[in-house]
């Protein structure tokens, strides 16, 4: 236990270092962009308007306006970093990639007879998945040390077997002395002499990331085109996304259908508030993801289970939003309406309902976000179709590009949902925050 805690602390500290380095790099790029932008914008059109005349901007949040140039540059920078780190063809090759083509070295060896001979190893390093022909072996010089040629995939190692002579031993690689258990570098890779007298050759892997961990942007793009055309595992890309969305819409709609009246009931009636308070307060902090196992036990992995889960995810949020909406109605509005002769039913429909719309919209935005996150998680656990199902299935086959496409689409759609909700809010409750 104590040991584990120490390890946890240790790895956390290393994470701090790693994260700080990444941030520092990203900030440095930001700094360079800012400098360039400063050079460009100097002497050009200045910002206009009231805010530009404020002298105190540090500390005045309202005077801090997002610089859209910075936002665009930041997104471009992300893609550049991605491209450079993966050795993309679209970006300058700032980092050396893995060796490609023929690399060779010469070795010197002795045999049991005490003779010394040299041999030449030619290695064709090819991209993973290709199968080129083995290059011809260089012409022999006549001594016992044979020349060899072989092919090896990038980022893989090749073992060169020792000659079956008892007294055979490698002594030099490209003129550098070597003994078993040692590694020496040659131009284009390194070679390790095993204790049993073989050579383990590893061509240089460079500093770029392997596609298994992060494929380059163009690979992701071409996979995206392919997914669009052919889908994955027989389900179209947008069909997957559509299924996730339709579940969210139905679950959210059910949550609103029951949650809003429930919230109103709790805001308007003491008995009902008391009756529902324990369950609402208990269910509110339970993350919907924690319900997935129970939902699977109850409903199986079909649509019913997913929609029940999303309904539960939206229900409590909408209930609490509607209840807050009722309690947010200023008493003078209600008094005014009664004094003007409104009945209880009219108070509900003409005063309480419209007055709680801003709160309900805020709740709806939260609920939509939670539902979107929950549906993806539920699909990760078990589903036949859906964005989450697509990425979990792809990850099992190490198709990182599909995983990345899925994540990007999930993010874009989540953002799109929020934008739509915000647009609807501005349209339907223009008085929000201005009452």
């Amino acid at each position: 236990m104590g040991q584990e805690i120490l390890e946890l602390i240790g790895s956390s500290l290393w994470m701090i270092v790693g994260i700080a380095l990444i941030f520092a790099l990203y900030l440095a790029i930001s700094g360079v962009c800012y400098f360039v932008w400063g050079l460009y914008s100097r002497g050009r059109e200045k910002a206009k308007g009231y805010t530009s005349l404020k002298t105190v901007t540090f500390g005045d949040e309202s005077a801090v306006v997002a610089n859209r140039i910075a936002s665009i540059a930041a997104v471009i920078a992300i893609f550049l970093i991605w491209g450079v780190a993966t050795g993309s063809k679209l970006t300058p090759n700032l980092l050396p990639g893995p060796v490609e083509g023929t690399v060779s070295f010469e070795y010197t060896a002795t045999n049991a007879a005490g003779e010394t001979g040299t041999g030449r190893i030619d290695m064709l390093v090819h991209q993973f998945g290709e199968k080129p022909e083995v290059p011809p072996v260089a012409a022999e010089d006549g001594d016992f040390a044979m020349n060899q040629s072989l092919i090896v995939a990038q980022r893989r190692k090749a073992l060169i077997k020792t000659q079956a002579d008892e007294g055979f031993a490698f002594t030099e690689i490209d003129g550098q002395a070597v003994s078993p258990g040692e590694t020496v570098n040659f131009d284009g890779g390194n070679v390790f002499v095993t204790t049993r007298g073989s050579l383990s050759v590893e061509p240089d892997v460079g500093l770029t990331m392997e596609a298994l961990y992060l494929p380059p942007p163009e690979a992701v793009w071409s996979r995206f085109i392919d997914l669009n055309k052919n889908g994955y595992q027989g389900v179209g890309l947008w069909e997957n996304v559509f299924w996730s969305l339709i579940r969210v819409v139905i679950g959210f709609a059910l949550g609103c259908l029951f949650g809003i009246p429930l919230g109103f009931a709790m805001g308007l009636n003491g008995w009902l508030r008391g009756w529902f308070d324990p369950i609402v307060e208990f269910m509110r902090p339970v993350p919907p993801l924690a319900l997935i196992p129970l939902i699977i036990i109850w409903f199986g992995i079909g649509e019913q289970g997913k929609i029940s889960l999303l309904f539960l995810a939206a229900l409590w949020i909408m209930t609490i939003a509607a209840r807050a909406g009722v309690s947010g109605v200023s008493i003078s509005k209600v008094h005014a309406a009664y004094s003007l002769g409104a009945t209880k039913r009219q108070i509900l429909s003409k005063v309480i309902l419209p007055n709680s719309l801003p709160e309900i919209f805020t709740g709806a935005r939260v609920a939509m976000g939670v539902c979107w996150g929950t549906v993806v998680a539920a699909e990760l656990v078990a589903a036949e179709k859906g964005a989450g199902k697509m990425i979990i299935a792809a990850s099992k086959f190490q198709l990182t590009d599909i995983v990345i496409i899925g994540i990007i689409i999930i993010g874009v759609i989540g953002y799109g949902i929020d934008m739509i909700m915000r647009g609807a809010e501005n349209k339907l409750v223009p008085w929000k925050g201005r009452g």
Binding site: S332, K333, H335, A336, S339, A342, P354, G435
Partner: protein
């Protein structure tokens, strides 16, 4: 029986610690139809409690209130209310706000539109009918609140510091408007205010209330409201009796405040 009768009204609030506060004690008043009554007093004298009882939002712990012979048991369109601020419906246009009362009763739309149009003229918002509430200034919003109350044609208009949140200039204009409306419609108006000048200008009858227990301390009959109708209120303030009356009431309230402060210090 015509007019508003307050019969021996008392209001005692129980406190959580077992004690009680007499917010109002044995209030007796008779307000004639068409009377303009202003109520003044230091904070805590129970004037807002009294107004809430008159409106029917609170049930008194003793006594009762009758309007034209009917006992007050709850809010009723016969007793309209104008609040300080924030009681308008932001989700409705100015017109919809003003026509709210009649539309709740199911009055025909054309009829409502006609009276809304007339009221917009009276309160000086002719071109603002289509605007939303949040597009109006504070003074304009209170004009809407007045018009909304008038549109429902109440017998009594209760005003709870309706001009309290307005700036001085807007406030003076609104005071003239209240006087005009009083004269034009002949409604009974009961106005609660913190401002002594406002109470003098907008009360042909003025009650000064005293705290602990809340009660009527002194009553005045004043000529200024009548003088102020259609006149420049600055002229009215130059009336020979205005200054002395104002000072007398100011001193009275000042003494009460001092007494409260003294009591809380010793308590």
């Amino acid at each position: 029986m015509s007019g508003l009768t307050i019969n021996d009204v008392s209001m005692t609030f129980e406190l959580p610690n077992g004690g009680s506060v007499e917010a109002l004690k044995n209030i007796n008043l008779n307000i004639k139809e068409g009377e303009l009554l202003s109520v003044l007093g230091p904070s805590g004298c129970g004037k807002t409690t009294l107004l809430n009882i008159l409106a029917g939002f609170l049930a008194p712990t003793g006594g009762e209130i009758d309007l034209n012979g009917d006992k007050v048991v709850g809010p009723h369109p016969a007793r309209g209310m104008v609040f300080q601020q924030g009681a308008l419906f932001e989700w409705m246009s100015v017109e919809e706000n003003i026509g709210f009362g009649p539309s709740m009763k199911g009055t025909p739309k054309a009829e409502i539109a006609a009276s809304v149009e007339e009221l917009l003229g009276i309160v000086g918002l002719q071109d603002f009918g289509q605007k939303m509430i949040y597009e109006l200034s504070g003074g304009m919003q209170q004009r809407v609140a007045l018009a909304r109350c008038l549109c429902n044609d109440p017998d009594v208009i209760l005003m709870d510091e309706p001009l309290g949140a307005l700036d001085a200039l807007t406030r003076e204009k609104m005071q003239s408007l209240v006087l005009d409306i009083w004269k034009k419609t002949g409604k009974t108006i009961i106005l609660i205010t913190h401002s002594v000048e406002e109470a003098l200008l907008l009360g042909e009858r003025l009650l000064v209330m005293a705290p602990r227990p809340g009660r009527v301390h002194k009553e005045y009959r004043l000529p200024f409201a009548e003088l102020g109708v259609g006149a420049d209120l600055r002229e009215v303030k130059r009336h020979k009796d205005f200054g002395p009356t104002r000072d007398e009431i100011l001193n009275m309230i000042w003494d009460m405040e001092e007494e409260i402060m003294g009591r809380t210090e010793t308590a």
